[in-house]
Amino acid sequence: MVPGILKIVLQSIKFYRKPVLYQVLIIALLSAVITGSLLTGRSVRASLKKSASERLGNTGILISSGIRYFDAELAQRMKDSAGINCTGILEINGYCQSLSSQKGAFNTHIYAVNNDFFTFNGDDSLIINQGEIAINKRLADYLAVKPGDDIIIRFKEISDIPADAPFAPAKDAGKSVVMRIGTILQPAYTGNFSLSISQIMPMNVFMNLSDLENEHGKSLKINRLLIDKKNVSSLSKITDDFKRDLRPADIGLRLRRVKKTRQTELISDRVFIDAAIVKEISNLLPSSAPVITYLGNRFMAGSRSTPYSFVSALPLSIYPEIATGDDIIINKWMADDLSVNEGDSVEMYWYSPDSLNKLIERSNRFVIKKIVEMQGIWSDSLLMPDFPGISGRESCSDWDAGVPIKMNEIRTKDEAYWNKYRGTPKAFISYEKGKELWGNNYGPATALRFPEALTEKEIEHKLSGSLDPRQSGFTFTDLYGDAIKAANESVDFGTLFFSLGFFLIVASVVLLSFAVSSYFDSKREQINTLFALGFKNRWIERLLFLESLSIGLIGCFIGALAGYLVNILITRALNSVWQGAVQTDTLDAFISVVPVLTGFLITILTTMILMMIKIRRYLNTLNRKEKEIHRRPSPRRNLLLLRYSFILTI
């Protein structure tokens, strides 16, 4: 039976198994480095995407109010009006400690959620009962706790008023609650939920939002609104939908009727109203007028002093009689207390935060333009903002004004004034002067007043859907898109390790060149015999090509498998000793067809190009015979070179 070319190829490979094995190993090394590098690149990106997916759940767009809070009812309104699947959460940082193990964890992410949070993330079965919490596995491992254990959670008090705003009540150490662990959440079940871009696995606590409500006895407030990624058409559409549904009350703006002046007033839960909002409202309702009321430490006239008095800076547009510049109007009570008359001067002192938020006592001298009776518009107790530490207090001694109060300076008559008139301002200056003296980073007004002609309903209607949420501190982020983009644009570890492995690749190619030369030289007589037997050059070239291709395919196949092992090793190293490079320890070694196929093809192509060059040169050398002086091929020399190169490579 005449042997076919494939049989000759296979028999030859079988017979020369040792030199073939050298070539296979070198090609496998080449393939493993290339495939392993490409797989690592794919693994890092796939891990980052998986991690992003685990972190974000179904969150597509995040609407965040930063350090402010807004009404949770807004989420429901978005659902109803825009047909968007969304959920509102309260995200705060805190500290957790296990009561059993006594282990504590700082910088814990606390998510106060409604029961629709887990439904939103695709898990209908999970519900956090009141008084219970769910924690993620990392926190459970860190605290060495299990379901049924109690942990204490500490966090800063949630307040609409920024901690460093003027007259913010003094902060205590925060709030503490003891909760029972109901569930430990695995990463695949929203356990590693996080809205930050960090790759570090978070330590999470999920609690029922109503537990916080009960604690504070206030209406629910949240600071994050999560929009389902499946509903996301565009960021601008979501922004428009949100703006359309935004009402003044959602951002803590309230309207109230001022009986004394018959005006309507807009005040803020944050006390001060942001400059941007003041400007926006004045554009929408040009008849609005800002008011700023501030607490003076004392008024001095000669040796006489009146402590702790509110002073209002009023707009000329709705208070035509108001003084301008350094002129001041004081009420009869203060005039009597200071024994001053119109035309006299008084010195006002007040606290103001400097650039480092340190309270500095400042002062200004005013000339008394007018002394008014405490009636009508001059007896308007609503001019005093709702300072949380002052409003509603029975006595001046109960004040928690956020500034030092010298209780010994408060006289019986001052307490009597408080009892009778509460925070009714005792003095009045122009709004422009007040803004100059007391305007701050948190806003230039404590209220906006509207003319009598404008009703609450009209104002509410005008402002609803018209206020730009971004002016109120809202940010809109395509979190999922950004996370995927970040994962895609992360450091290309495939190229990185490909470059790092370049020496091995070059060394492998050189080694392979020697190995092939050595192999062909050992077959020289057989190839000459084939010539003598009448085989054509093309046929011999095909024979050598098929043999090389078979060797290459075996090497590449083994290398592709070894590449996966290389991928596992590199991924483990990135999770441990090289963690600084990726800032995460959650990388998985993924197997993927594209990089394996790419590595396989690159290697087989490189190998076959090299083999074809070697085959052509080899056959040319054989055809040259003894016409030219050429170095006689030496299998022994090639084998020695091969061994030295191999040792050097290792």
Partner: protein
């Protein structure tokens, strides 16, 4: 059948090896070429077998000049008309005896019918040379003499016109050398194959009808061997 006219061949390292050499070979000739090592015997056989080309002069085979052959035509010429037997058998070690023998047929593009005729012919030759029993063995499992007989049958696979044997008994003992010599002679007589062999062996040479000595690049007829 084969005409060699004034061929010369020189090598940079060895100088002039063949010098205006002439030789006429007729069908059924058996020629022994003798001469010391390096005298150009192998070069002459290579030129006849179109494995090498002369610097000058002409070799014609049945009126066709070998110089005009393309590489492919040279390959066909070797496959159909020339049989080579080398000093070392040069069998492919990874093929069995029978596969080695059939190997030249692979290069011939025969039809299945032609192929079965050739295979039958080879079976007869294997019987004649006493290697039928070895057909499934590999070259490294058989003796030098057996391997050389296998090489002879392989050379005769395509029923060539000329058998070129380069030191065919060089690596054999006297007994095997004698057996191979007799076989060559038998092939010459029975099948009319022209034999041109290069050898140092006077015993082998005297079995041939003509004995020529290659001296200073020219062939001189030997009166006695």
């Amino acid at each position: 059948m084969l005409s060699i006219k004034n061929i010369s061949k020189s090598f940079i390292q060895r100088g002039l090896v063949l010098n205006n050499l002439c030789l006429e070979v007729t069908e059924g000739d058996s020629i022994a070429i003798m001469g010391p090592s390096g005298s150009g015997k192998t070069t002459l056989l290579n030129i006849i077998g179109s494995l090498d080309k002369p610097d000058s002069g002409e070799v014609t085979f049945r009126a066709a000049s070998l110089a005009n052959f393309t590489d492919d035509e040279s390959a066909v010429y070797r496959n159909r008309n020339i049989g080579f037997v080398f000093q070392d058998h040069l069998l492919l070690p990874y093929l069995t005896v029978s596969e080695n023998i059939m190997l030249p047929l692979l290069a011939s593009n025969y039809t299945p019918e032609e192929l079965s005729v050739k295979e039958e012919h080879l079976k007869i030759l294997m019987d004649k040379t006493g290697i039928t029993e070895l057909k499934n063995k590999y070259p490294f499992h058989i003796s030098g003499g057996e391997a050389q007989r296998v090489a002879l049958v392989r050379a005769l696979a395509n029923s060539p016109s000329i058998l070129l044997a380069d030191e065919p008994t060089g690596s054999l003992d006297a007994k095997n050398a004698n057996i191979l010599g007799d076989l060559l002679l038998e092939m010459n007589k029975e099948f009319g194959i022209t034999i041109i062999l290069a050898s140092h062996s006077a015993d082998l040479a005297k079995k041939m009808s003509r004995v020529l000595r290659l001296d200073e690049g020219k062939l001189i007829a030997e009166a006695t061997v």
